[in-house]
């Protein structure tokens, strides 16, 4: 089956999912390293109730952005929107799967805005982030 693009969509259509492994090294590259920092200091993370440093929630927005750039192309890089709520922490060593399902299309300007329901799910099947993303089709 062809990979769906923003030019040929139907409501309820699923986008190809992405799988992201998140080792500490990736978190360090994303967030930087410093003491008393919940993203890089394991002892500090434990004092806040987490068994490992947290991946920055913004990393999940980047994963959704990747999925949407593949789906909507230039219509996401220029004119795209993304809105997410982070509902469960993502820890170093977790694996996320990023999902998207086309939810709505509506006219906007001379084109069409295609809205996708998006979410990230960890290796235990728990949702960690939920929201919507959209791009413009000409």
């Amino acid at each position: 089956m062809a990979t769906p693009t923003i030019h040929d969509v139907s409501i309820g259509q699923a986008l190809p999912s992405l799988v992201k492994e998140i080792p500490q090294r990736k978190i360090d590259a994303y967030s930087g390293v410093r003491p008393r920092y919940i993203h890089s200091d394991a002892d500090f993370a434990r004092t806040k109730g987490f068994r490992a440093p947290l991946a920055q929630a913004m990393m999940s927005t980047a994963y959704v952005s990747e999925m949407m750039t593949h789906f909507a192309g230039t219509g996401f890089v220029k004119g795209g929107k993304l809105s997410m709520a982070f509902i469960k922490p993502v820890l170093a060593g977790d694996r996320l799967t990023v999902h998207g399902v086309v939810k709505e299309t509506r006219p906007e300007g001379a084109g069409t805005r295609v809205v996708v329901e998006v979410w990230c799910q960890n290796q235990h099947g728990e949702k960690t982030a939920v929201g919507t993303a959209s791009g413009l089709a000409p």
């Binding site: 806040k48 990393m59 927005t61 952005s65 593949h70 890089v77 220029k78 795209g80 709520a85």
Partner: protein, 140 residues
């Protein structure tokens, strides 16, 4: 000079404004970001339909998210919500700056939250990204 007092819920003022330093978007920054999030789309390195390479749309999110660090020592916190609108592509060679304003602060289940709206602009003042985020503050 900036004094960097410790950020507390009580000290934070709704309507307070922040401005980041300028940041030069370099190919190395884009490469580091690509490594961090495992996204090596060719538009970020070779060229794009916009003419030349562009950066990941979310590349500058941390510049906005860290606006409060331009004035305060921040005890840390958790990121609750994020909204982005990608207005124009971010390109290597741009010098970018984010501006933000505290829209709201509130307590929920005994935890303090702040809501900030932001824009990120290039050196000509053209808006590249705008959005809003909600952060929970650690009390210490």
């Amino acid at each position: 000079m900036v004094d960097f007092p410790r950020l507390t819920y009580e000290r934070l003022q709704v309507g307070e404004e922040f401005v980041s330093d300028t940041f030069l978007v370099t190919p190395e920054e884009i490469e580091t970001y690509a490594f961090a999030v495992d996204d090596h789309h060719p538009w970020f390195f070779e060229g794009s339909p916009f003419g030349g390479p562009v950066a990941h749309p979310t590349l500058l999110g941390n510049q906005a998210l860290r606006l409060r660090h331009s004035r305060y020592t921040v005890p840390g916190g958790l990121h609750a919500k994020m909204e982005f609108e990608f207005v124009e592509p971010i390109r290597p060679g741009m010098r970018v700056r984010s501006r933000g304003r505290v829209l709201d602060k509130y307590e929920r289940r005994g935890k303090p939250y702040m809501v900030t709206e932001f824009t990120t602009e290039d050196e000509t003042g053209a808006v590249l990204v705008r959005g809003r985020f909600t952060q929970m503050l650690f009390r210490d």
